[in-house]
């Protein structure tokens, strides 16, 4: 199943993970295991579709196994990292 994310989805995910917005595009922060996660989210408006190749990288950059894992985190608001 192809997963599609918007800029707004990625911002929601980053915020729920506790990442901070550092500058126009850069978000970063640490998890409780001491890993440091950093990703870049272009601000084209919250409804803008993210390229699948970019979403795949953003998933890895935020510590998800893959895009499916990141999608599961997005739709399950009770899920922790």
């Amino acid at each position: 199943m192809p997963y599609r994310f918007t800029t707004g989805d990625l911002k929601t995910i980053a915020k729920r993970l506790g990442l901070q917005k550092i500058n126009a595009n850069k978000w970063n922060g640490a998890d409780i295991k001491g890993n440091f996660w950093q990703t870049y989210i272009h601000n084209h408006g919250d409804g803008a579709q993210i390229l699948p190749g970019t979403a795949k990288q953003q998933a890895k950059q935020m510590g998800f196994k893959d895009m499916e894992d990141m999608y599961d985190f997005l739709i399950n608001s009770k899920r922790k990292r």
Binding site: K26, A30, G34, F36, Q38, Y40, L51, G53, T54, Q57
Partner: protein
Amino acid sequence: MTFFEEKSISKAKQDFPNIVREAANGFESITTNFKSSNSGNVSIISTDIFEEILDRAFKFNPVVEKDPDGNGYTISIEELLIHGDAPTLFDALKDLAENLMDYAQDYLTRIDFFRQIENRKEHYPYLRRIVKHKDINQVMEVIAECHTDLQQVILKQSQKG
């Protein structure tokens, strides 16, 4: 004869002008803090040799992914957990280079922090290669050094002016 006699800090202080002269000629000096078991050895070597080692051993392997719907390109360097994207391949490479320069500057500024982070500590040699370049075009060339398509796109862009 031993090539790597470890010198104490006080001995290295006394010999420092000589150590620097020898390093410039290709010799390596190793300094040890014999009073502390926590601090590792420190090598003093020529910057040219250090950068030559990095340039040979830490090549970038960018991966290009084209959007199947034709909306753009993503270029990633997976070993550094970083990417760039844009509607054109050239602009995606430029975006990646900007992100990489930003990360390299942050990393080298806070290297004591990043060297303790499990998923970041191995990024140093790659970022040390990047941080010596001030010009984004040079950074793009370093990223593209092992990728023919990216080299072609840089060449085409430079021919356009």
